[in-house]
Symmetry: C2
Subunit: 137 residues, 2 copies
DNA sequence: AATCAAATTAAAACGATTCTAAACTGTTGA
DNA sequence: TCAACAGTTTAGAATCGTTTTAATTTGATT
């Protein structure tokens, strides 16, 4: 058994764990993000979900919260086009399909892609992440 | 010997080959892009290079031209962040290092990365491209 | 309950990019 | 050669996702 599982902790515990004050807005957004299985959102889609769920929150707060959650390691940013920023509730090591026409993402487990002969980071640089994006049409 | 090598053709021939009218602006931008070895530009950096070279061209035309060249297969778009769009004069199959702090790119030859077990495209989808981005800090 | 830092917000600002519509320029055919 | 026209360029306005501002509200602490 692990010391602590993150699978079942609620929004409140999650916010406490990363030392973010559990405000009404953060709690509601955390529930929308983490109580529904892994998925991908943009600021706009999460804002719309919140509206639909009757949560009173501004778009600015959605942006703030997404960035705070990302900085805290609860979310991961996925860059697939310059039109908008995607956030992924799956923060494990994995890759992505990107459906270019629909603008949606699907996860690819890291174990399902075998990358060999990854070049060394040049000079003093350090690899912060390897992103594989398979673009689909 | 090949029927036609693209290594040494000039800007004029290049534009003719893709049926773009060889205007003063397109010729100048094509020279800046293709007469200097493979490299990466943004609309802003190319515009600045043009200014520095004494070429009179507007930023709007730089944007138009970059997109026309991309549609014609002379350039390839590289998505690494949402801040701005990069264009690559190397249109062969390859991948990228991205120096996050400097905002610069470096090519990685396709042969230098060995990807195995690439997942099939789901349902009716078709893979249009596989992008590997190694982020460096 | 009073206090105060932290959080939220509407609205303005921002920056990259795209659009508009007027002026200009290659190309074509007489 | 040059008139004519479609294609191109351009300044400036518009757009859109995102960030900032500054005032208000809220959560935690006493």
């Amino acid at each position: 058994m692990e010391l602590q599982s993150t699978d079942t902790i609620g929004a409140l515990e999650r916010l406490r764990a990363v030392k973010l004050r559990p405000t009404r807005q953060r709690l509601a957004l955390a529930q929308l993000l983490f109580d529904t299985g892994d998925h991908h959102v943009t600021a706009e889609t999460l804002y719309d979900q919140a509206q639909a769920a009757g949560v009173r929150v501004s778009l600015a707060t959605v942006y703030n919260t997404l960035h705070q959650f990302t900085a805290a390691g609860l979310l991961r940013e996925v860059v697939v086009n310059s039109a908008c920023t995607y956030f992924d509730t799956n923060v494990t090591d994995h890759h992505h399909f990107f459906y270019e026409d629909r603008g949606t993402l699907a996860d690819i487990d890291s174990a399902d892609i075998d990358i060999r002969g990854l070049p060394e980071a040049p000079d003093g640089a350090k690899i912060s992440r390897v992103d594989v994006i398979i673009r689909l049409t």
